[in-house]
Structure formats: C-alpha cells, structure tokens
C-alpha cells in the first residue's frame, strides 16, 4: 500500500505542473500590461521596477512562467485590484465558508446516496426502485441554479421558513455557540439542498449499479450456501464490496462539487471563495481570478489524492497487495 500512495503522490507533480501551465496560459490571454496582473496599477516607479524583476516581466514568457510558479508555490499570487490586498490573504479568508458548504453537501450526499442506491438495487424494479430512478434522472436534468431559485421562492419568500441568503443573520444576538450553530444551519439549508439534489443523482445511480454487479458475484452464492441469513448476505457481504468504487467516484465528483458551490454561493450570497470568484470575474480582477483558479484546482487534486488513499485503505486487495 505504501508503494501505491507514493506512486499517487508522484503522479501529482506533473499534474500540478499541468494545472499551473494551463492557468498561466489562460491568464496571458488577458489584455494589458502584464504588470497589471500582479499589482494595483497606480503604484510608484520604484515599485514597478521591483515588481518587474520579482515576476520576471522583462524576460521571455517561458521564464515568466517559472517566476510565477516560484511565487505561486510560496503562496504569492500577487495583489488583487481595488481591494489592494494580497490575493492569497483574501482567498484564505473566504475559503472556510466554502469548505463548510461543500463539506456539508459532500457528507449529506454520501449518507443518502449509499443507502438509496443499495436498497434500490436489492429491491430492483420495485416501486421504491422506480421512484429512485425517476428521482435520479430528474436530479441530473435539473439546473442547480433553478432549484435554488425555486427553493428561495417557495421556502423563503412565500413560506418564510428559511433566509434567502447570507451566512449569518446580521441582527441576531448570538450569545452562545448553540444559537450560532442554529443561525448558520438555517442559512446553510437552502444552498445545501440545491446542491445535494443534483449531486445525489449520479452517486445514487452509480451505487445502485455497483451493488447490482456485486450481488451477482460467486461469493454471494457461497455466503448463502453457508446458511447465512439474507440480511447478512446483503448488508455484510455485498455492501462491503459495493461501497469500494464509490470512494473513487467521490474524488471524481469534486470538480462538479466546486462548480456547484460557485453557483450556489452567488445565488445565496454565501460569503465563500465561490462568490469571491464570481465577483472577481465580473470585475475583471485578474490576479484574484488566477489565484482562485489555481487554488480550487489544487484542492480538487488533493481531494482526489485523499480519495485514492481512502480507496487503498478500504480495499484489502490494494492495502495488502500480492505477496
């Protein structure tokens, strides 16, 4: 297993190179003086010279990439326009809110998709299964931003059960942690639902397919031949095998998870990295845009790494490889 993990980590490096290269390339499609990509344009001539040398702006573009990479590795993505603060600081400030949102969605999706998929596989073609199938098709077809709008319309504007946006009620008097939690949860509910409805669909279908495959395996027949009750056969023997591929799928769902977060944060005014990103896009705040592009892809790559490590822990064939 250690070999597997080291292998995976080594594969990360060219991947990160690729990401930074592509981001750099995109960034240089932007019009204007490259200096502007890194600082507030209204700056003293001495600053300008320092910046030119720090970012290698008087060098050929190839070298510029390495200057930029060197800075990026140290967490220096330049200074955002207008806000006039280092990009990294701004991002780090907003990141926790995004992690809270995506983390909650992620966990909920896991907790719901696995039982849903398993039960529909076991009760194949029952009314439950058909209902779940319709639900998954619908979930894949529905635009998440539309779900968000409808949720706001019904539950916020018409019924008033949940707030329409923001992370905390500015007027609330949060004297203790519990009320603070409740406050955040109320604000978290609608955005989470809008993202989960869409994300759940693919995971559930996949889990169902995986379970259906496993149930046909020989070792399931052996378990029955040993006299094991059906519940043990399904929920011990089959389930333990069927959840393994989900781990990989979870890793693969990260880019869509983040994309969904960007949209949900914008609609619900959730103060996270996604909303920051959309604001950056509209204000053509290139240093900020680039920083967010790189940080989010690095997070996704790391997430995939954790998924792979998780996979190696959960599948004994990888964990205790052939001797």
């Amino acid at each position: 297993m250690k070999l597997y993990i080291i292998n995976r980590i080594l594969q990360l490096i060219p991947l990160l190179f690729g990401i930074t290269l592509i981001s750099f390339f995109i960034m240089h499609l932007a019009p204007g003086d490259p200096t502007q990509l890194f600082i507030n344009p209204n700056v003293s001539p001495e600053e300008l010279i320092r910046i030119r040398s720090n970012w290698g702006l008087d060098q050929p573009i190839f070298i510029q990439y390495f200057y930029w990479l060197k800075n990026a590795i140290c967490g220096n993505f330049g200074v955002a326009y207008i806000i006039n603060r280092p990009v990294m600081d701004v991002i780090l400030e907003k990141l926790p809110a995004t992690l809270l949102l995506t983390g909650t969605v992620f966990i909920l999706e896991l907790l719901i998709a696995i039982p849903l998929g398993v039960i529909s596989a076991v009760k194949k073609n029952s009314w439950f299964d058909n209902f779940v199938t319709i639900f998954t098709f619908a979930g894949m077809a529905i635009p998440s931003f539309w779900v968000a709008l409808i949720l706001i319309l019904v539950f916020s504007l018409k019924l008033g059960w949940f707030p329409a946006g923001g992370m905390l009620d500015p007027l609330a008097n949060d004297t203790n942690f519990i009320s603070y939690l409740i406050n955040i949860s109320k604000h978290l509910t609608l955005p989470v639902i809008s993202m989960v409805v869409v994300g759940l669909a693919g995971l559930t279908r996949y889990q169902r397919a995986s379970m259906l495959e496993i149930i046909k395996e020989d070792f399931i027949r052996t378990a029955r031949a040993k006299g094991m009750p059906e519940s043990v056969v399904i929920f011990k023997h089959a389930l333990r095998n069927a959840v393994i591929p989900i781990v990989t799928l979870l890793g693969l769902s990260l880019p869509d998870l983040f994309s969904g977060a960007f949209i949900a944060e914008t609609i619900f005014a959730w103060p996270g990295m996604g909303r920051l990103g959309v604001y950056a896009v509209f204000s053509r705040n290139y240093p900020l845009i680039m920083g967010i592009v790189v940080i989010s892809s690095v997070l996704i790559v790391l997430g995939n790494l954790f998924a792979d490590i998780g996979y190696s822990l959960v599948d004994p064939r990888i964990r205790y490889g052939k001797k």
Binding site: I19, P143, I150, L153, V281, F282, I289
Partner: protein, 266 residues
C-alpha cells in the same frame, strides 16, 4: 419495456422542442424583443407564459430561446467531439510516452472546476454567443477523449489491425478507416449526454451573465433577474427553468434508448 417508453417520450418531447425552435417565428405571437404589454402580467390566453419585467412576451422569448439554447448545445458538442476524438485517438493509437503525456494533460484539464474555468475565460474574451459555444466545447472534450482512447487501446490489439498494417496502410489511414468506425458506439451515447450537459452549462453561464447576452434570449438569461421579481411573478422563475429541465430530461431518455439499442443483448 419501460426504458423504451421513456425513450419514445423523450423523442417526442425533443421533437416538439426542435420544431418549436425551427418554427419560432411562426409560433411566437410577438417579437421577443418588443415591449408588447404591461410588465409582469400573469400567464393568460394572450401571453401563455406571462410577460417579463420589461413587458416582453415570455412565450415568444422562450421559443426563440429554444433556438439559442439548443443550437449552442449542438455546436458545443460538435466542437468537443472533434477535439476529444482527435486527442483520444492519437493517445490510444500511439500509446507509450505520447499517451502518458496526453493523459496527464487531460487529467489537468479535469482538475479545474469547469464553470469557473469557463467564467474566467469569458472574463477575458467578452462574452457573446459564439465564444460561449467554443469555450464550452473547449472545456468538455475530456470525457470523450478518454472514451475514444480506451476503445483504441482495445481495438488496436485485434488481428484485423495487424492485417491492415502488414499490407502497408499508413497510420492515419488505419486510424480513420479501420479503428475509428468501430469505436463510435460509446461516442454516440456520450454525444447525446454531451448536448444535455452543454445546455445545462450554457444556461448556468447565461444565468450568471457571462453567456448569451441580452437582449438575445436564452433560457438561462431569462432567469437572470428572476430572483428580483419572482415573489410577485412566479412565472418568470418557473417557465424558463422548466423548459431547460424538460429538454435535458428528454435528451437523457433518448440517450438511454440509444445506449440500449447499441448494446447487444446480454
């Protein structure tokens, strides 16, 4: 079987959508950009979907929007297929170092949160309907390339390829005349799913304001300001989204039908 009925249903709905788009000028009672009535009128006989916040007929906008959304979907997928098939066949055919290099690049592209990547690119180029198609196409080819590569890797082992090579066929000839036609089945299914995905992506982009620009109407940008008015005018939020949902759903049903049809039984 149930699947067949759904596929049929999907075909029918899709046909209705396509025909509506094609015959939009006839179906639409009003010019979609004209202010024809009071704003925020509820759905009625004269305005099937009501009027929007400026007083334009929503049904007419929706029907013309179908043109935009559907054609963007198709063009974007054509672009992504072209890129994906090209890259996938080169990687799968040549294998080895070329394959590894290309697949690293594919992995890197897959690591970006797609919507944000597109948004960033759109921020640099000024968004209009043409670059929306191109950018969506340029960021969604990765799945197809993997598929094609996989097919190539398995097909090129087969004996008829050996035979072709032994009689002196050039590489490109082998790729295009011998391997590619056999690799097409999963690609067709992927193409249908791709159109659905492209429609969803375009609608999200237009909704955020970085896609199709008003006054041109796409289902996505019709929802752009919906949140401000929907409390008093629910039709502004409901109809465009419903149309997106129904078209994408029908495409999925048709895609499932095609997948069942192309797979031999068993």
């Amino acid at each position: 079987m149930v699947k067949n009925k759904l596929a049929l249903f999907g075909c029918v709905v899709l046909l209705i959508m396509i025909l509506s788009a094609v015959f939009a000028p006839i179906l639409a009672r009003y010019d979609p950009d004209d202010l024809v009535d009071d704003p925020l009128l509820a759905p009625s006989a004269s305005h099937l979907f009501g009027t929007d916040e400026l007083g334009r007929d929503m049904f007419s906008r929706a029907v013309f929007g179908a043109r935009i959304s559907l054609s963007i979907g198709v063009v974007a997928v054509v672009i992504s297929l072209t890129i994906g098939i090209l890259i996938g066949s080169v990687a799968g055919y040549f294998g080895g170092f070329v394959d590894s290099l290309i697949m690293r690049f594919v992995d890197a592209m897959l690591a970006f949160p797609t919507i944000f990547l597109i948004l960033s690119i759109q921020a640099i180029l000024n968004p209009n309907i043409y670059n929306v198609m191109i950018v969506i196409g340029a960021t969604s080819w990765m799945g197809v390339s993997r598929l094609v590569r996989g097919e190539f890797l398995s097909i090129k082992q087969r004996s008829y390829i050996e035979a072709a090579r032994s009689i002196g066929c050039s590489n490109s000839r082998i790729i295009f005349r011998h391997i590619l036609p056999n690799a097409m089945a999963p690609v067709i299914v992927a193409a249908t799913l791709g159109i659905a995905g492209a429609i969803l992506t375009e609608s999200a982009l237009s909704f955020l304001g970085m896609g199709v620009q008003p006054p041109m109407s796409s289902w996505g940008n019709m929802l752009m300001d919906a949140s401000a008015y929907m409390q008093d005018a629910w039709w502004i939020a409901v109809f465009p989204g419903l149309l997106i949902f129904i078209s994408v759903l029908s495409i999925y049903f048709v895609g499932e039908g095609i997948r069942e049809a192309l797979n031999p039984k068993g």
